[in-house]
């Protein structure tokens, strides 16, 4: 660890040299961002009646659930005492944004996601509970909660309640990810984080990442199951991705322009950091590859007419680059905020381990885990049938 001292440039307060928040803390907003974004996409159909994206409705919900299940894991791994994390439920400190986490998470997981998925799938669950065999039977029976009523009236009640839950879910999704932005944005000690724009920037980048993730997963899932992709669905998702991206990019540029114009005492040190230690991840990865290129590609699709296959190819590339860019944005916020000294006189480096508690390996495993869970979920609760996808 002494080697970190050698890579300190200038002066840092002695306690600041070692970074406090690692790649796991970068991962957490990335995961909850996809949860919030996927849910917003699902709500487009359910609440705003955008019919074209209906084929992705169930897939979006299941994606949200898979990422939601994994979301607390990087936090637990990061804590010095994960066994004490339940203390947030016992004595939440109401002035702390972090204390909200436990309740917002539980609320969103149980009162929104689980209920909505349950109501949406109840007909299939009851059918499978009565007819499935083997290990699946007790699983479905448990999910049915002992009630097998799927009469039209019961299903109508489910539909109404489901709509209500989705409406409640939209501000809940905003809260789920917005509080993370506030968590950073409210730290007056750190000028890289402290801005009222932070919750909004986080939220729109979440929407962008959620739509991109569901777009990709939809293409991949249909490809694996041999289902024809709905072209209007893809085009509509890409359009919403484009709009969300424009807003997200504008907000980030607004922050940048504002900072450079006001030029307060932190500007020199932050600019230097962006041009040196953060250049690759901020300028190249986040701005150019992760934002400008996808926006350019999506704009191209809007302006030039192309075949559906070509468009699909563009969407795959744009979505993949988007997800990289959004991850880079989380990295730049979390890691970037700790690379410079609060004395504005120096910089340190982030030494990420590999097979350590907060190293690259656990981060990669945690990134892969939601897809594993999603695979289990789509096996138990298929999001679409072969005939459904042809619109």
């Amino acid at each position: 660890m002494e080697s970190i001292l050698h890579s300190v440039e200038g002066f840092m307060y002695p306690n600041e040299v070692e970074l406090q928040w690692s790649i796991l803390i970068v991962l957490y907003p990335f995961l909850t961002g996809i949860v919030a974004g996927a849910f917003i996409l699902a709500s487009l159909e359910r609440v705003f009646n955008v019919e074209e994206v209906k084929p992705t409705y169930r897939l979006a919900l299941l994606t949200a659930l898979s990422f939601m299940i994994v979301a607390p894991l990087p936090l637990q791994l990061h804590l010095g005492h994960p066994e004490r994390s339940f203390e947030m439920y016992l004595t939440p400190h109401t002035t702390s944004a972090m204390a909200m986490f436990g309740f917002v998470y539980l609320w969103y997981l149980l009162a929104v996601l689980v209920i909505e998925i349950w109501l949406e799938y109840r007909k299939e669950i009851v059918t499978m509970a009565l007819h499935a065999t083997g290990w699946r039977r007790p699983v479905y029976r448990a999910m049915a909660l002992g009630s097998y009523n799927v009469s039209p009236r019961a299903l109508e009640i489910d539909e109404k309640l489901g709509r209500f839950v989705t409406i409640v879910g939209i501000p809940s999704a905003f809260l789920l990810h917005g509080y993370v932005g506030f968590l950073f944005g409210s730290i007056k000690a750190n000028p890289w984080w402290s801005t009222p724009l932070m919750p909004i920037v986080f939220l729109f980048s979440a929407i962008v990442s959620g739509i991109a993730a569901v777009l990709l997963l939809y293409i991949v899932y249909c490809f694996l199951k041999g289902i024809k992709r709905s072209v209007p669905c893809l085009d509509t998702m890409a359009r919403y991705l484009f709009y969300a991206f424009l807003i997200d990019f504008s907000l980030e540029m607004l922050d940048l322009i504002h900072r450079n114009y006001e030029a307060d005492e932190s500007l020199k040190t932050l600019n230097f950091m962006v041009h040196t230690r953060l250049y690759g991840s901020q300028v190249l990865l986040q701005i150019v590859i992760g934002t400008l290129v996808p926006i350019g590609l999506l704009a191209m699709v809007q302006l030039i007419s192309m075949s559906p296959r070509a468009r699909e190819g563009i969407y795959v590339i744009a979505s993949s680059l988007t997800l990289c860019g959004i991850f880079a944005m989380r990295w730049n916020v979390v890691i970037g905020g700790q690379l410079f000294s609060k004395s504005f006189l120096g910089y340190t480096t982030y030494k990420m381990g590999f097979a350590t508690k907060e190293g690259l390996l656990p981060a990669l495993l945690l990134m892969a885990l939601p897809f594993l869970i999603l695979w289990v979920l789509v096996t138990l609760l298929p999001p679409m049938n072969r005939d459904e996808a042809v619109h």
């Binding site: 002494e2 307060y13 306690n15 406090q20 004490r84 203390e87 947030m88 702390s96 968590l183 609060k342």
Partner: protein
Amino acid sequence: MEVSRREFLERSGKYILLFGAATKAWDFILAGTPETAPGYDVTRHWWAFYIDIEKCIGCGNCVRACKAENGVLREPFYFRTWVERYHIPPPDLANLRADRLPVVDSPNGGYDGFPERFRDSDGSKSFFVPKMCNHCTDSPCTQVCPVGATFDSPDGVVLVDQTYCLGCRYCVQACPYGCRYIDPRTRTVDKCTLCYHRITKGLTTACCESCPTGARLLGDLKDPKDPLHELLRTQKVQVLKPYLATGAKLSYKGLDGAVR
């Protein structure tokens, strides 16, 4: 069938409520007030600190004393208090710039003093600045703790509950002065406790005890005879980063504007 089910629900509801109330009452009885230990009343003290920059000679006694008294790890990443050396160059006439960025160093936090002479005088200004927890009245660190593991005691000392801290490090991020760190042995946050175990026994802090020039001074603002009152009244004092409105109770005399 229905009547007995309702009765059952009513009864169990009552029992649950009573059980909850009983546990609360039992807790209250058990708690007592052990915090007001024999001889020390938390409500009769309000601790503050005073550092005279012009007296500090950068000997590092305070850093060594603090680590010895409080069992802090010797590695250069964990400091409850440390000393910085400032070297402020003369105005840059070649480029006509007035922002005289200081050159600051703190080798091992000043634990081994500042052995080398630094450099020959070139029209610059040099001095030492001891740093430590400011025990803020409106501390941003206690504001962000999610569980209440770090707190402001009734006598004005910001402390950490080592048995309750999760090690989430949010408070470390929120402190503008960089005075918190994670102790790898306990995996919880640690910081200057103002030698709480000493000041509640009528002793002074370890850093004040070992300072040879009297640059450091512990003060009790609720004591009308405390010399700190006179100093605050007559000397030009400043706190670090006053624009952040942390209510810092560490007053510096002779603090240069270039100090970060």
